[in-house]
């Protein structure tokens, strides 16, 4: 999917329960070494994992914002 949005995983909130992995119909998520790994090529932004997560650790965000966060760059409002 390339509409400028991506699935984003919040490592701080996540309780590593694996619900998102089991519920994803597209096998886009895996839990490896205690981290949720997202295959963005497989993710269709269907939001099943976003809704299912017991603690709201997954969300759909604009891609730009995520990249900025990953790189620690502040975006102008």
């Amino acid at each position: 999917m390339n509409d400028g949005r991506r699935l984003y995983w919040d490592e701080q909130k996540c309780i590593r329960c694996g619900l998102c992995v089991g519920i994803c119909p597209f096998d886009a998520l895996t839990l490896e070494d205690g981290k949720i790994v997202i295959d963005h090529d497989k993710c269709t932004l269907c939001t099943l994992c976003v809704k299912g997560c017991p603690v709201a650790a997954l969300m759909i965000r604009p891609q730009l914002e995520e990249i900025a966060r990953e790189r620690g760059v502040a975006l102008e409002a």
Partner: protein
Amino acid sequence: MRRDWDVVVVGGGPGGLWFAKNAAEKGLKVLVLERKKEIGTPVQCAEGFGKEGLKELGIEPDVRWSGWEVHGAKVYAPNGKYVEVKGEGYVIERKIFEKELAKMATRAGATVLAFHEVYDIIKEDGKVSGVKARFIGEDKEFRANIVVAADGFESKIARKAGLKTFQQAYHADSGFEYQMVGIDIDADNIHLFFGTEIAPRGYVWIFPTDKDAANVGIGIDAREEKTAKWYLDKWIEEHKDEYGFEDASIIEVRGGGIPVGGLLKDMVTDGLMVVGDAAHQVHPLHGGGMFLAMEAGAIAAEVAAIAHEKEDFSKDTLSLYNKLWWERRGNQLQRLVKIRQMFEKLTDDDFNFLAEILTPEDILAISEGHWEAMKTIAKKVVKHPRLAALFAKMLT
């Protein structure tokens, strides 16, 4: 260390370990690989285990894990009216229980290895013939005639083998739980709170673990916009005076997916069987899965022994597991899925009405999926047009 295995089990939970114990007792060489560093952790469970279930599995309760004894369940309608159902059971210490299961499996001749993360299956001539695992930076291959996928809700292994085991969102519940201490509860019973505002499609539970401690949790429809945590926190806030939640300690936080439906007609392929949460073998009404996973593990072990005897690990031979499990348990769980689908249409008024007319025996019969009893209950609601229609639809 032996290199060749009759069976490699992926996942050292109750289902995988009970399979291992049973298969090892039949003389098979069994290896269990568990991803976590510690068997039994993290707990993702309310930890209730009925005495009947333990007896059926032939397990003697042991003070090391039996935890706290309860004598019944209080089932609450949204208006607070409850029906008390008698029933003996334990709220167990699952971390210790699973370690004991690992000991039992080992003493029967199986090997259990923690912190072995299986990341792929090995296929030869279209048939599953082993797994690849990582252990502290080391890649390992384990060959076996049969792979048992007991890898829980994620169910990655069966999917890699081509089985469609992903959990349909419609049949998934999202669960969240606190283990609390310093609360004021009736610790002789487990408590289940129903209501559309309380827990959409599910319920809030209090499972006592001591006179002043309990697993306080919730399961809701995974498709809900708000999180399981949001609903549980709201309920705890609203009941803080009643149960003394205000200054209570939270000594553990737990969560996870609960497969409350989507039973698999086909749980095998060439060289592979699926057991437990990975096969959605969970009670569709209350979400309990330990007993069902262990029962299925024992059935799968019987079939593994037959396949071993015949030296035939094809889908054809292994599909005896499908047949035996569906006869023993699947058909009952399928009826319970139908009951669940009726229950998820109930309004708070419907719940309140049912709490007035249902007897403890009725509730027990519902939880066991007794179809004849459902017909009797349907007669009790005939003057309530909405419920009468819902029951009629379910029973056709």
